[in-house]
């Protein structure tokens, strides 16, 4: 009887359902000494009863255990009522499935109903010795059948829900990929506006992610910062192409024009309902400085979020290490010295130290997955190990940083097989 009680427990897979139902079927056949029995689940779309589990049939017969069910057939059944197969002999249902009933050696057919819904059926063979099923035995069968019907019904609901949940998850992942691809496409469009900044947005996003991860940000927040990095210059789309790509010194009106882009980025992105927080805030303030001399709002350090501080550093570092219309790219050591010079005024020291700590570990080959170096392939990094570490880490903070201070630069380009040592 434990097996019948067990039917009331949650069933979370088709396999588990088959196991529990098999045990219940064995209980049923044990009570009445029936050597053969089969349990079917009803498939409304296919209008058929398909085998869940069975007892006592030869393997060959199992494959053919499928009963077709005309709609009129279901209406004739009474709820969980054991029907002697002889009484069914004139029904269309019996005639359509005569061969299967013969193979099953069916004597009693019990349609299973739960909450008024036809969910399956049990086919019981003849009792050992061939004695008939007595009315009181049919009462017991009805009770067990009712329990099995409820389990079938609940399991079917559960499996349908699980299938829908799995489908929703797949759709969500697919939508997420489309979402990311769209954002990447926007980023590419933004960068295409500027002849010199191909992949700038992508690199800024990657640097920002590296810092945020190092600071222990949550996955979702890191993702949001990545998107902000990709879209931070979206406002440049409506800035005159000639101003963006001007090689000479900008005039005051041109500087004013180009400084509008964070505000425009904000205006565009604040209308988008992102699944991440603060995207518009990050892009609006990516040209702010911690000394309050940035734009558009000249906010002080205390008014700036970590996300803004990270993005500002990532943006400036990439600007330094790529060619610009007005100057060539800096070497890595020059860029690092430049950033350190501005640490505490333009950039937050926590962010600069974190960034260079990641860079140092990557240069020393201490990490498998490099996040910064792959983007610096076209940058001269050979002079980096000539830098005084105290310069890089601002003296005092150097002691708290783990690892070596001698820089052996090793990384692989996509086309190189052996690591390159510089």
């Amino acid at each position: 009887m434990e097996s019948l009680v067990d039917l009331g427990q949650e069933v979370s897979s088709a396999k588990e359902l088959a196991e529990k139902m098999k045990a219940a079927l064995y209980v049923m056949t044990g009570i009445f000494s029936v050597p053969t029995a089969a349990l079917f689940i009803y498939h409304p779309q296919r209008k058929s009863l398909e085998l869940v589990t069975e007892k006592g049939h030869r393997d060959k017969a199992k494959k053919e255990m499928k009963l077709s069910v005309p709609s009129a057939g279901i209406k004739r059944f009474r709820m969980n009522e054991p029907h002697p197969i002889l009484d069914m002999s004139k029904t269309t249902f019996y005639r359509q499935n005569h061969a299967v009933f013969m193979r099953l050696q069916t004597r009693i057919f019990i349609p299973l109903f739960a909450k008024g819904e036809f969910v399956g059926a049990i086919a019981l063979g003849k009792k050992l010795g061939g004695a008939p099923y007595h009315p009181e035995e049919k009462d017991v069968l009805r009770v067990i059948a009712h329990q099995m019907a409820i389990t079938l019904h609940n399991t079917r609901l559960f499996l349908e829900l699980a299938k829908k949940a799995s489908e929703n998850k797949r759709l969500y992942t697919s939508m997420q990929r489309i979402y990311h691809d769209t954002i990447q496409a926007f980023a590419a469009a933004i960068d295409a506006k500027d002849d010199y900044t191909k992949d700038h947005s992508y690199r800024v996003a990657s640097y920002a992610v590296a810092i945020a991860r190092e600071l222990g940000w949550k996955k979702n927040d890191v993702e949001g910062l990545y998107v902000a990095g990709l879209l931070h210059d979206i406002g440049k789309i409506i800035i005159d192409h000639d101003i963006i790509n001007k090689g000479e010194k900008l005039t005051t009106p041109e500087i004013y024009e180009i400084k509008r882009h964070p505000q425009i980025s904000y205006d565009i992105l604040s209308k988008v309902k992102f699944p991440w927080k603060n995207i518009d805030h990050f892009v609006r303030h990516h040209h702010e400085r911690i000394d309050g001399k940035g734009y558009p709002d000249a906010l002080m350090s205390t008014e700036l979020s970590d996300g803004v501080k990270i993005l500002s550093l990532a943006d400036a570092f990439d600007a330094m290490t790529t060619d610009r219309p007005y100057r060539g790219k800096m070497t890595l050591s020059t860029a690092v010295q430049e950033v350190m010079k501005c640490s505490g005024t333009q950039f937050d020291a926590k962010m600069t130290n974190t960034f260079f700590n990641i860079l140092r570990r990557e240069l020393n080959g201490e990490v498998k997955e490099k996040q910064i170096l792959p983007h610096l392939r076209n940058v001269d990094i050979t002079d980096f190990n000539t830098l005084d570490p105290a310069t890089v880490y601002g003296g005092a903070s150097m002691d708290s940083l783990p690892g070596k201070t001698e820089y052996v630069l090793t990384w692989q380009t996509e086309t190189e097989k052996a690591p390159r040592t510089l």
């Binding site: 097996s3 050597p35 050992l128």
Partner: protein, 101 residues
């Protein structure tokens, strides 16, 4: 066959599988020694029902030995006992079977 412990779950189906193997090999006499069986429930009865059915199909003989009273009562109650020969122990069963061959 000498089942042990509890014959009360689907794990005991291997008893039926073992008897299938014997019958498939042409064995005509099977002895089940119950001395180490502690408990049989309806699932166990169902399994023995299947064994008895196949024994009949193969025109073979099934003997039970060393049964406790509770086991005997259970098999009597469900009507299975009339399809098997019950003996006090294996020796008695073997003596009987030798006499029949």
């Amino acid at each position: 066959m000498t089942p042990k412990g509890y014959i009360n779950d689907m794990g005991a189906v291997r008893l039926e599988q073992t008897s299938d193997v014997f019958l498939g090999k042409g064995v005509k006499k099977i002895i089940v020694n119950f001395s180490d069986v502690q408990f049989i429930n309806t699932i166990g009865i169902s399994i023995f029902t299947g064994i008895v059915q196949k024994i009949q199909e193969h025109e073979s003989l099934l003997c039970f030995t060393n049964m406790k009273k509770i086991h005997l009562d259970v098999f009597e109650m469900v009507g299975l006992i009339k399809y098997v020969k019950v003996f006090k122990d294996e020796e008695a069963a073997l003596t009987f079977l030798k006499g029949r061959s």
